[in-house]
Protein backbone atom coordinates (compact mmCIF):
# COMPACT_ATOMS: atom_id res chain seq x y z
CA UNK A 1 0.00 0.00 0.00
CA UNK A 2 1.50 3.33 -0.87
CA UNK A 3 2.37 5.81 1.82
CA UNK A 4 0.13 8.62 0.65
CA UNK A 5 -2.89 6.31 0.87
CA UNK A 6 -2.01 5.38 4.43
CA UNK A 7 -1.60 9.04 5.37
CA UNK A 8 -4.91 10.14 3.87
CA UNK A 9 -6.72 7.14 5.32
CA UNK A 10 -5.36 7.90 8.79
CA UNK A 11 -6.32 11.57 8.66
CA UNK A 12 -9.70 11.46 6.93
CA UNK A 13 -11.39 8.22 5.90
CA UNK A 14 -10.32 6.10 8.87
CA UNK A 15 -10.00 8.86 11.45
CA UNK A 16 -9.09 7.23 14.78
CA UNK A 17 -11.38 9.44 16.83
CA UNK A 18 -14.46 9.26 14.63
CA UNK A 19 -14.28 5.74 13.20
CA UNK A 20 -12.28 3.80 15.82
CA UNK A 21 -13.34 5.82 18.88
CA UNK A 22 -9.79 6.05 20.19
CA UNK A 23 -8.93 8.76 22.70
CA UNK A 24 -12.55 9.54 23.47
CA UNK A 25 -12.07 10.51 27.12
CA UNK A 26 -9.81 13.50 26.39
CA UNK A 27 -11.91 14.15 23.28
CA UNK A 28 -14.91 14.84 25.50
CA UNK A 29 -12.95 16.40 28.37
CA UNK A 30 -10.65 18.93 26.66
CA UNK A 31 -12.71 19.91 23.62
CA UNK A 32 -14.29 22.78 25.56
CA UNK A 33 -11.98 25.44 24.15
CA UNK A 34 -9.65 25.77 21.19
CA UNK A 35 -6.42 26.59 23.04
CA UNK A 36 -6.40 23.48 25.21
CA UNK A 37 -7.55 21.35 22.28
CA UNK A 38 -4.58 22.66 20.26
CA UNK A 39 -2.08 21.83 23.02
CA UNK A 40 -3.56 18.39 23.53
CA UNK A 41 -3.52 17.50 19.84
CA UNK A 42 0.12 18.59 19.48
CA UNK A 43 1.11 16.47 22.46
CA UNK A 44 -0.84 13.48 21.14
CA UNK A 45 0.65 13.70 17.63
CA UNK A 46 4.17 13.96 19.01
CA UNK A 47 3.91 11.09 21.50
CA UNK A 48 2.00 8.91 19.05
CA UNK A 49 4.68 9.17 16.35
CA UNK A 50 7.39 8.53 18.92
CA UNK A 51 5.53 5.55 20.42
CA UNK A 52 5.15 3.88 17.04
CA UNK A 53 8.81 4.55 16.21
CA UNK A 54 9.91 2.84 19.41
CA UNK A 55 7.40 -0.01 19.76
CA UNK A 56 7.76 -1.26 16.16
CA UNK A 57 11.40 -2.37 16.59
CA UNK A 58 10.61 -3.80 20.04
CA UNK A 59 7.77 -5.88 18.66
CA UNK A 60 9.43 -7.11 15.48
CA UNK A 61 13.02 -7.46 16.70
CA UNK A 62 12.41 -8.62 20.27
CA UNK A 63 8.96 -10.03 20.94
CA UNK A 64 8.50 -11.92 17.66
CA UNK A 65 11.94 -13.67 17.55
CA UNK A 66 11.57 -14.82 21.17
CA UNK A 67 7.94 -15.82 20.61
CA UNK A 68 6.54 -13.79 23.50
CA UNK A 69 4.06 -11.67 21.54
CA UNK A 70 1.43 -12.18 24.26
CA UNK A 71 3.51 -9.75 26.33
CA UNK A 72 2.86 -6.94 23.86
CA UNK A 73 0.22 -5.18 25.99
CA UNK A 74 2.41 -5.05 29.08
CA UNK A 75 5.52 -4.05 27.13
CA UNK A 76 3.78 -1.43 24.98
CA UNK A 77 2.07 0.33 27.87
CA UNK A 78 5.32 0.43 29.83
CA UNK A 79 7.21 1.83 26.85
CA UNK A 80 4.54 4.49 26.36
CA UNK A 81 4.56 5.42 30.05
CA UNK A 82 8.36 5.70 30.05
CA UNK A 83 8.37 7.72 26.81
CA UNK A 84 5.84 10.17 28.16
CA UNK A 85 7.91 10.63 31.29
CA UNK A 86 11.12 11.25 29.30
CA UNK A 87 9.46 13.62 26.86
CA UNK A 88 7.95 15.57 29.74
CA UNK A 89 11.32 16.00 31.44
CA UNK A 90 13.06 16.99 28.22
CA UNK A 91 10.43 19.51 27.24
CA UNK A 92 10.44 21.00 30.73
CA UNK A 93 14.24 21.48 30.64
CA UNK A 94 14.67 22.70 27.10
CA UNK A 95 11.68 24.77 26.10
CA UNK A 96 9.44 26.66 28.51
CA UNK A 97 7.29 27.71 25.54
CA UNK A 98 6.61 24.14 24.45
CA UNK A 99 6.12 23.10 28.06
CA UNK A 100 3.43 25.69 28.54
CA UNK A 101 1.61 24.88 25.32
CA UNK A 102 1.70 21.07 25.35
CA UNK A 103 3.71 19.90 28.36
CA UNK A 104 0.89 20.18 30.85
CA UNK A 105 -1.08 17.61 28.85
CA UNK A 106 1.68 15.02 28.77
CA UNK A 107 0.89 13.23 32.06
CA UNK A 108 -2.67 12.65 30.82
CA UNK A 109 -1.44 10.94 27.70
CA UNK A 110 -0.25 7.68 29.28
CA UNK A 111 -3.86 6.67 29.79
CA UNK A 112 -4.94 8.05 26.42
CA UNK A 113 -6.08 4.94 24.60
CA UNK A 114 -5.33 6.51 21.22
CA UNK A 115 -1.59 6.01 21.74
CA UNK A 116 -1.83 2.37 22.77
CA UNK A 117 -4.55 1.82 20.18
CA UNK A 118 -2.40 3.08 17.32
CA UNK A 119 0.52 0.86 18.31
CA UNK A 120 -1.83 -2.16 18.50
CA UNK A 121 -3.44 -1.38 15.13
CA UNK A 122 0.04 -1.02 13.65
CA UNK A 123 0.80 -4.60 14.72
CA UNK A 124 -2.57 -6.02 13.64
CA UNK A 125 -2.26 -4.47 10.17
CA UNK A 126 1.32 -5.66 9.80
CA UNK A 127 2.71 -2.29 8.66
CA UNK A 128 6.39 -1.93 7.75
CA UNK A 129 8.52 0.52 9.73
CA UNK A 130 8.04 3.44 7.34
CA UNK A 131 4.32 2.69 7.01
CA UNK A 132 4.00 2.66 10.81
CA UNK A 133 5.67 6.06 11.09
CA UNK A 134 3.36 7.55 8.48
CA UNK A 135 0.31 5.86 9.99
CA UNK A 136 1.00 7.06 13.53
CA UNK A 137 1.79 10.61 12.44
CA UNK A 138 -1.34 10.72 10.26
CA UNK A 139 -3.46 9.33 13.08
CA UNK A 140 -2.22 12.04 15.41
CA UNK A 141 -3.05 14.72 12.83
CA UNK A 142 -6.46 13.11 12.23
CA UNK A 143 -7.23 13.07 15.95
CA UNK A 144 -6.15 16.72 16.09
CA UNK A 145 -8.38 17.70 13.17
CA UNK A 146 -11.36 16.04 14.85
CA UNK A 147 -10.82 17.58 18.29
CA UNK A 148 -10.11 21.06 16.87
CA UNK A 149 -13.29 20.96 14.81
CA UNK A 150 -15.19 19.81 17.89
CA UNK A 151 -13.68 22.55 20.06
CA UNK A 152 -14.56 25.21 17.48
CA UNK A 153 -18.16 23.98 17.38
CA UNK A 154 -18.42 23.81 21.16
CA UNK A 155 -17.14 27.37 21.57
CA UNK A 156 -20.07 28.54 19.45
CA UNK A 157 -22.46 26.31 21.38
CA UNK A 158 -21.87 28.31 24.54
CA UNK A 159 -24.50 30.74 23.28
CA UNK A 160 -27.00 28.06 22.33
CA UNK A 161 -29.99 27.36 24.50
CA UNK A 162 -29.62 23.64 25.20
CA UNK A 163 -31.78 21.49 27.47
CA UNK A 164 -30.04 21.06 30.84
CA UNK A 165 -29.42 17.31 30.47
CA UNK A 166 -27.84 17.67 27.06
CA UNK A 167 -25.11 20.15 28.06
CA UNK A 168 -21.52 18.90 28.12
CA UNK A 169 -21.05 15.23 27.30
CA UNK A 170 -24.48 14.65 25.77
CA UNK A 171 -24.26 17.26 23.05
CA UNK A 172 -20.58 16.42 22.43
CA UNK A 173 -21.59 12.85 21.60
CA UNK A 174 -24.35 13.95 19.26
CA UNK A 175 -22.06 16.42 17.44
CA UNK A 176 -19.41 13.69 17.20
CA UNK A 177 -22.06 11.49 15.60
CA UNK A 178 -22.83 14.15 13.01
CA UNK A 179 -19.12 14.71 12.40
CA UNK A 180 -18.56 10.98 11.97
CA UNK A 181 -21.36 10.97 9.43
CA UNK A 182 -19.74 13.79 7.47
CA UNK A 183 -16.32 12.12 7.65
CA UNK A 184 -17.94 9.03 6.09
CA UNK A 185 -18.34 11.25 3.05
CA UNK A 186 -14.55 11.14 2.61
CA UNK A 187 -14.80 7.40 2.00
CA UNK A 188 -15.13 7.98 -1.73
CA UNK A 189 -11.64 9.43 -2.14
CA UNK A 190 -9.92 6.15 -1.26
CA UNK A 191 -10.58 2.49 -1.67
CA UNK A 192 -8.90 0.77 1.26
CA UNK A 193 -9.99 -1.22 4.29
Amino acid sequence: MDLLTILIAAVFTHNIALTYFLGMCPFVAVSGNLRTAMGMSMAVTFVMSLAAAVTWPIYHKLLVPYDVTYLQYVVFILVIAALVQIVEMMVERTSPFLYNTMGVFLPLITVNCAILGVTLFMVVRDYSYIESLIYSFGSGIGWGVAILAMAAIRERLRFADLPEGLKGAGITMIIAGLMAMSFMGFAGILNVH
Binding site: L18, T19, Y20, F21, L22, G23, M24, C25, V28, Y70, L71, Q72, Y73, V74, F76, I77, L78, A81, T110, V111, N112, C113, L116, G117, L120, F121, V124, P163, E164, G165, L166, A169, G170, I171, T172, M173, I174, A176, G177, L178, A180, M181, M184
Partner: protein, 200 residues
Protein backbone atom coordinates in the same frame (compact mmCIF):
# COMPACT_ATOMS: atom_id res chain seq x y z
CA UNK B 1 -8.34 10.10 52.51
CA UNK B 2 -10.98 7.45 52.85
CA UNK B 3 -14.35 8.39 51.50
CA UNK B 4 -17.16 7.70 53.91
CA UNK B 5 -20.14 5.64 52.84
CA UNK B 6 -23.18 4.60 54.81
CA UNK B 7 -22.79 0.90 54.23
CA UNK B 8 -21.35 -1.83 52.08
CA UNK B 9 -24.64 -1.93 50.21
CA UNK B 10 -24.19 1.70 49.23
CA UNK B 11 -20.65 0.97 48.02
CA UNK B 12 -21.98 -1.83 45.83
CA UNK B 13 -25.10 -0.22 44.39
CA UNK B 14 -24.02 3.33 43.65
CA UNK B 15 -21.91 2.21 40.66
CA UNK B 16 -24.94 0.76 38.93
CA UNK B 17 -26.98 3.90 38.30
CA UNK B 18 -25.98 6.84 40.49
CA UNK B 19 -22.29 6.74 39.53
CA UNK B 20 -22.80 4.79 36.33
CA UNK B 21 -19.36 4.88 34.66
CA UNK B 22 -20.61 5.28 31.10
CA UNK B 23 -23.56 7.62 31.24
CA UNK B 24 -22.99 9.55 34.47
CA UNK B 25 -19.20 9.86 34.64
CA UNK B 26 -18.57 9.44 30.86
CA UNK B 27 -15.45 7.32 31.38
CA UNK B 28 -14.14 4.43 29.34
CA UNK B 29 -16.31 5.22 26.36
CA UNK B 30 -13.78 4.24 23.66
CA UNK B 31 -14.47 0.55 24.13
CA UNK B 32 -18.14 1.20 24.82
CA UNK B 33 -18.64 2.91 21.48
CA UNK B 34 -16.51 0.41 19.58
CA UNK B 35 -17.96 -2.94 20.60
CA UNK B 36 -21.66 -2.17 20.98
CA UNK B 37 -22.69 -2.84 17.38
CA UNK B 38 -23.10 -6.52 18.35
CA UNK B 39 -24.70 -7.82 21.54
CA UNK B 40 -22.27 -10.76 21.68
CA UNK B 41 -19.17 -8.51 21.57
CA UNK B 42 -20.72 -6.31 24.23
CA UNK B 43 -21.24 -9.27 26.55
CA UNK B 44 -17.65 -10.43 26.04
CA UNK B 45 -16.32 -6.92 26.63
CA UNK B 46 -18.48 -6.47 29.76
CA UNK B 47 -17.31 -9.73 31.29
CA UNK B 48 -13.68 -9.01 30.40
CA UNK B 49 -13.74 -5.50 31.82
CA UNK B 50 -15.58 -6.58 34.98
CA UNK B 51 -13.05 -9.38 35.52
CA UNK B 52 -10.12 -6.96 35.14
CA UNK B 53 -11.85 -4.39 37.38
CA UNK B 54 -12.46 -6.85 40.22
CA UNK B 55 -9.08 -8.60 40.08
CA UNK B 56 -7.05 -5.42 39.74
CA UNK B 57 -9.02 -3.65 42.48
CA UNK B 58 -8.41 -6.61 44.78
CA UNK B 59 -4.67 -6.71 43.99
CA UNK B 60 -4.25 -2.96 44.36
CA UNK B 61 -6.18 -2.94 47.62
CA UNK B 62 -4.03 -5.77 49.02
CA UNK B 63 -0.82 -4.04 47.91
CA UNK B 64 -1.89 -0.52 48.89
CA UNK B 65 0.58 -0.30 51.80
CA UNK B 66 3.52 -1.37 49.62
CA UNK B 67 3.11 0.71 46.47
CA UNK B 68 5.27 3.86 46.60
CA UNK B 69 3.16 6.93 45.88
CA UNK B 70 5.41 8.37 43.21
CA UNK B 71 5.25 5.38 40.88
CA UNK B 72 1.73 4.25 41.75
CA UNK B 73 0.26 4.94 38.29
CA UNK B 74 2.92 2.80 36.60
CA UNK B 75 2.34 -0.01 39.10
CA UNK B 76 -1.45 0.10 38.58
CA UNK B 77 -0.95 0.03 34.82
CA UNK B 78 1.25 -3.07 34.99
CA UNK B 79 -1.23 -4.86 37.29
CA UNK B 80 -4.14 -4.01 34.99
CA UNK B 81 -2.17 -4.99 31.85
CA UNK B 82 -1.34 -8.39 33.37
CA UNK B 83 -5.00 -9.24 33.93
CA UNK B 84 -5.88 -7.99 30.45
CA UNK B 85 -3.40 -10.51 29.02
CA UNK B 86 -5.38 -13.27 30.81
CA UNK B 87 -8.62 -12.06 29.22
CA UNK B 88 -7.03 -11.82 25.78
CA UNK B 89 -5.55 -15.34 25.90
CA UNK B 90 -8.83 -16.78 27.26
CA UNK B 91 -10.91 -15.18 24.49
CA UNK B 92 -8.47 -16.27 21.79
CA UNK B 93 -8.49 -19.85 23.08
CA UNK B 94 -12.21 -20.38 23.71
CA UNK B 95 -14.06 -17.75 21.68
CA UNK B 96 -11.89 -17.04 18.61
CA UNK B 97 -14.79 -15.52 16.64
CA UNK B 98 -15.66 -12.98 19.32
CA UNK B 99 -11.96 -12.27 19.78
CA UNK B 100 -11.70 -11.49 16.06
CA UNK B 101 -14.77 -9.20 16.21
CA UNK B 102 -13.38 -7.18 19.10
CA UNK B 103 -9.78 -7.20 17.85
CA UNK B 104 -7.37 -4.76 19.48
CA UNK B 105 -10.07 -3.33 21.74
CA UNK B 106 -9.39 -6.09 24.27
CA UNK B 107 -5.92 -4.61 24.73
CA UNK B 108 -7.49 -1.21 25.17
CA UNK B 109 -9.13 -2.40 28.42
CA UNK B 110 -5.74 -1.38 29.89
CA UNK B 111 -6.37 2.27 29.13
CA UNK B 112 -10.05 2.11 30.08
CA UNK B 113 -10.15 5.05 32.45
CA UNK B 114 -12.92 3.43 34.51
CA UNK B 115 -10.44 0.87 35.84
CA UNK B 116 -7.67 3.38 36.49
CA UNK B 117 -10.23 5.69 38.07
CA UNK B 118 -11.42 3.06 40.54
CA UNK B 119 -7.83 2.04 41.34
CA UNK B 120 -6.83 5.62 42.08
CA UNK B 121 -9.93 6.85 43.87
CA UNK B 122 -11.16 3.76 45.70
CA UNK B 123 -9.09 0.56 45.72
CA UNK B 124 -5.86 2.28 46.75
CA UNK B 125 -7.51 3.68 49.88
CA UNK B 126 -9.80 0.90 51.02
CA UNK B 127 -9.74 -2.62 52.41
CA UNK B 128 -10.09 -5.56 49.99
CA UNK B 129 -13.76 -6.33 50.67
CA UNK B 130 -15.15 -2.85 49.93
CA UNK B 131 -12.75 -2.63 46.98
CA UNK B 132 -14.23 -5.81 45.46
CA UNK B 133 -17.81 -4.67 46.09
CA UNK B 134 -17.08 -1.29 44.53
CA UNK B 135 -15.45 -2.91 41.50
CA UNK B 136 -18.39 -5.29 41.05
CA UNK B 137 -20.91 -2.47 41.29
CA UNK B 138 -19.05 -0.38 38.73
CA UNK B 139 -18.58 -3.49 36.55
CA UNK B 140 -22.31 -4.20 36.59
CA UNK B 141 -23.07 -0.56 35.79
CA UNK B 142 -20.64 -0.68 32.88
CA UNK B 143 -22.06 -3.99 31.60
CA UNK B 144 -25.67 -2.77 31.80
CA UNK B 145 -24.76 0.36 29.84
CA UNK B 146 -23.08 -1.69 27.12
CA UNK B 147 -26.10 -3.98 26.88
CA UNK B 148 -28.47 -1.03 26.80
CA UNK B 149 -26.57 0.49 23.87
CA UNK B 150 -26.07 -2.78 22.01
CA UNK B 151 -29.72 -3.80 22.28
CA UNK B 152 -30.62 -0.68 20.33
CA UNK B 153 -27.75 -0.75 17.84
CA UNK B 154 -27.79 -4.40 16.79
CA UNK B 155 -31.55 -4.67 16.08
CA UNK B 156 -31.64 -1.34 14.23
CA UNK B 157 -28.33 -1.84 12.42
CA UNK B 158 -28.60 -5.50 11.41
CA UNK B 159 -32.18 -6.52 12.28
CA UNK B 160 -30.83 -9.18 14.65
CA UNK B 161 -30.37 -9.73 18.38
CA UNK B 162 -27.48 -12.02 19.40
CA UNK B 163 -27.38 -13.01 15.71
CA UNK B 164 -31.03 -14.22 15.74
CA UNK B 165 -33.15 -12.45 13.19
CA UNK B 166 -35.91 -10.52 14.94
CA UNK B 167 -36.80 -8.07 12.21
CA UNK B 168 -40.23 -8.24 10.56
CA UNK B 169 -40.30 -9.29 6.91
CA UNK B 170 -39.36 -6.49 4.56
CA UNK B 171 -37.37 -4.61 7.24
CA UNK B 172 -34.53 -2.64 5.72
CA UNK B 173 -31.58 -2.64 8.19
CA UNK B 174 -30.69 0.86 9.32
CA UNK B 175 -26.99 0.39 8.72
CA UNK B 176 -26.06 3.77 10.14
CA UNK B 177 -26.65 2.38 13.64
CA UNK B 178 -24.11 -0.38 13.15
CA UNK B 179 -21.55 2.19 12.03
CA UNK B 180 -19.67 4.80 14.10
CA UNK B 181 -22.21 7.67 13.85
CA UNK B 182 -24.92 5.44 15.34
CA UNK B 183 -22.74 4.72 18.35
CA UNK B 184 -22.26 8.41 19.10
CA UNK B 185 -25.94 9.24 18.61
CA UNK B 186 -27.25 6.40 20.82
CA UNK B 187 -24.79 7.19 23.64
CA UNK B 188 -25.56 10.91 23.37
CA UNK B 189 -29.29 10.31 23.69
CA UNK B 190 -28.81 7.93 26.66
CA UNK B 191 -26.67 10.52 28.46
CA UNK B 192 -29.33 13.12 27.79
CA UNK B 193 -32.13 10.94 29.18
CA UNK B 194 -30.22 9.86 32.30
CA UNK B 195 -28.98 13.37 33.09
CA UNK B 196 -32.50 14.74 32.76
CA UNK B 197 -33.90 12.14 35.15
CA UNK B 198 -31.11 12.35 37.74
CA UNK B 199 -30.12 15.98 37.55
CA UNK B 200 -27.22 16.89 39.83
Amino acid sequence: MTEQYDSMKEVFTRGIIKDNPTFRMVLGICSTLAVTNLVSSSIAMSLGTTFVLVTSSLSISLLREFIPRRVRMAVYTVIIATFVVFVDIYLKAFYPEISADIGPYVGLIITNCVIMGRAESFASQNRPLPAILDAMGIGIGYSLSLLAIASIREPLGFGTFLAYSIAPAGWQPWLLFAMPPGAFLVVGVYIWILRSIYSD
